[in-house]
Amino acid sequence: MSPDHNVSSASDPDLDHSVTDLSRRTFLKAGAIAGGGLLLSLRLPFGADESSAAQTASFAPNAFVTIDRDGRIVLTMPYVEMGQGTYTSIPMLIAEELEVELSHVQLAHAPPNEKLYANPLLGIQATGNSNAIRGAWKPLREAGATARTMLVAAAAKRWNVEPASCRAQSGEVLHSATGRKASYGELAADAAGMPVPVNVPLKDHKDFRLIGTRAKRLDTPAKVNGTAVYGIDVRPPGVKIATLAQSPVFGGKVKTVEEAAAREVKGVRQIVRLDDAVAVVADHMGAAKKGLEALVIEWDEGPLAGLTTAAIASELERATLGPGAVAQSLGDTERAMAEAVTKVNAIYQVPFLAHATLEPMNCTVHVRKDVCEVWVGTQALARAQAIAAKTAGLPLDRVVVHNHLIGGGFGRRLDVDGVARAVQIAQQVEGPVKVVWTREEDIQHDMYRPYWFDRLSAGLDGKGMPVAWMHRFAGSSVIARYLPPAFKNGLDPDSTEGAIDLPYELPNVRVEYLRVEPPGIPTAFWRSVGPSHNVFVVESFMDELAAAARQDPVSYRIALLDKTPRAKSVLAVAAEKSGWGQPLPARVGRGVSLQFAFATHMAHVAEVEVSNDGDVRVRRVVCAVDCGAVVNPDTVRAQIESGIMFGITAALYGEITLKRGRVEQDNFDSYQMLRMNEAPTVEVHMVPSSEPPGGMGEAGTSAIVPAVANAIFAATGKRLRKMPVDARLLKRPT
């Protein structure tokens, strides 16, 4: 890997190789690379059900492993690194079965190609939804094992011995009886001619050398010495810097611009007017900003000039008065509710949230007559290429996208609105231009985590246990915009995740969803997506039921988990390690949450302290997780720590509000982030498991919000049904 770890598009591996064999019903193909060597092309399966991929008639590979005559092993794969450690954990899968060290596997980033590099769980070339390891777990180990078997076969043939008498170790094949050995590089060309083994056995978990061990991150050295190149750092020769003002009201247009004062600013080169934005192009960002401030822009604010968050919330509330699309129905909820001894009703709401990636939105573009070159850090490379082509009016093959390190994704860089905007500006600029959003523009023109409005009711039996569960909620469907075919019958798999298929044994359940799009407000995936909303609501309400039943929140939940032992186990571990039940001082409380999402089971216990003024400090978080087989335990731990801080930030501070059609927050004073002095200690306990891996990038975030809210209830007796925490409600009564 290059020292600056600057990811640029690799060229496609030679796809015109002679196919020598076909195996596993078109899962994997072997061939030779130009110059001699082994090429494995594989297909990462679509959907969680791996068998469905085997039914696919035509073979379209989306990942490649090559071993050349020099023994270089290169993995070409579609996932991007954004701090989640994918560049380290994915190569571990190949290295494990290929019997080489992690350092022997080089990564090449896949070029944009939606057909070739689709994410198996998203169906598009994108890194998101915590599914890189989930998608790659089996096929990449199979690829490693297949390559190893073919290398051994090549050696055995050369030496005229039985393959079973040879073994692979550290990049060589050994025949111990005769002491012969050959490196993978020496064998690679011959291996390409060997038959592809069918149903090659994978290692037993107990034999793993690499998987499950702490591997050093491969992408970090350049990130501590200033040499790492993020999208915002690119400097193609002659690049100018632009910054922009977009209509402060969503959907508004530019009416008039007075440019004279801006043109006087030293270093300002050009002012670019678009329909709904103005950009100042300059020698450096300082001049661009100063120029922008000197502009006098009058906006035609359009029909949304009066929009407020309250209006959006009441629209959602109104929608929940009627029935929604049924996401899950078990038993007869209506009847069970009618027969229940006790009823509990509650309304929950969560706000719009901005992503606030620390690297502000930016994109560098050079539009020439018949080619468009783009430099950007994106989670969705093919999408970036497509929008650039569409905006520039060029065919796809005339657009080159260089992908770069991402200074925070969190879902923001799954969207490519910034690429479109930068291309629009670049079309009017001679030479390359780097468009950099100010923090204010970044926050006020984000695409936001949707606002949600939830109505819940439960019926309890004589012992206080839930016999009826009714949950109806309204909000935007991100999937309906992002991946329209996945929105079917009024439902999508993201909006309902964490609201349906709960780990609890509930006899009568009805969950309904109403898609209501806020007027003009763009919504997008935000770290922990659907569960970011649902898990807060469900786990807070479950806590309410325990309180209504006058039972301990942990034992109340455990009584409902007989059929989900993995969930029960993480909850028991989190409770035990946190000292659940041990006495705490006044206005300090523990709160619990249990989550099954992203194919990972997780329980958090948060310990919070509430000041007399109502300020909340999260002191300690204990997490127990069963995420299936762990590839890189340190990365799992890091992602949980990270997810928890992200979720606490949302719980304590996160809220985007609208007034007069404008976002009211604009920088880190009005849209606060958790800081070092507020960060809790975090303990992570991994429950050993040999199940397939679950996702780790987001689970910690959605699970922590209800744990904090439940801890606040334990500390103060105040139930918070709306996020973020409102300190005014928590003041100590005098």
Binding site: G408, R675, T681
Partner: protein, 156 residues
């Protein structure tokens, strides 16, 4: 207007308005992109550099205020003993995730340890709470600062 500034031991002449923030001179004029833009208002610390050894926010430091002071950036902090220890501790403790804030975190930590070889938890909080990490690597930053402090071999 022309200014002469000393960055990482080397003198550079730049021709910009006097109110131009040092951050843009470093990144866009001199091409030293290790120092990051995060907020533009000294709220996040991503742009932290050293001015005569003290941590400052380059996004609000105008070029005409620097005079003959010496600026050190992330590109050169590893040449100091403290800076090198901090960088090593960052790697040893696997602090980094997306990494975007870490230039600023490392510059703040190096300035802290240069003036206070064995900071307490509350001194670490005080020195570091101006640096936002959106990935939330705070637990590890705290550990790494302690590791780097111990590596200094001094008693505080």
């Amino acid at each position: 207007m022309a200014f002469s500034i000393k960055v990482n031991g080397k003198t550079h002449n730049v021709d910009v308005d006097g109110d131009t923030a040092l951050l843009w001179v470093l990144r866009d004029v001199l091409g030293m992109t290790g120092t990051k833009f995060g907020c533009g208002r000294a709220l996040c610390g991503a742009c932290t550099v050293h001015l005569d050894g003290a941590a400052i926010r380059s996004c609000i430091t105008s070029i005409d205020s620097i005079g003959s002071s010496e600026i050190t950036t992330i590109e050169a902090v590893g040449a100091t003993a403290v800076g090198a220890r901090v960088q090593k501790a960052w790697l040893d403790r696997e602090v980094v995730q997306c990494g975007y804030c870490q230039s600023g975190q490392i510059m703040s930590a190096a300035a802290l340890l240069a003036s206070n070889a064995r900071p307490t938890d509350s001194e670490i909080d005080e020195a570091m709470s101006g640096n936002i990490c959106r990935c939330g690597t705070y637990v590890r930053i705290r550990e790494a600062i302690k590791v780097a402090a111990q590596g200094g071999g001094q008693k505080g």
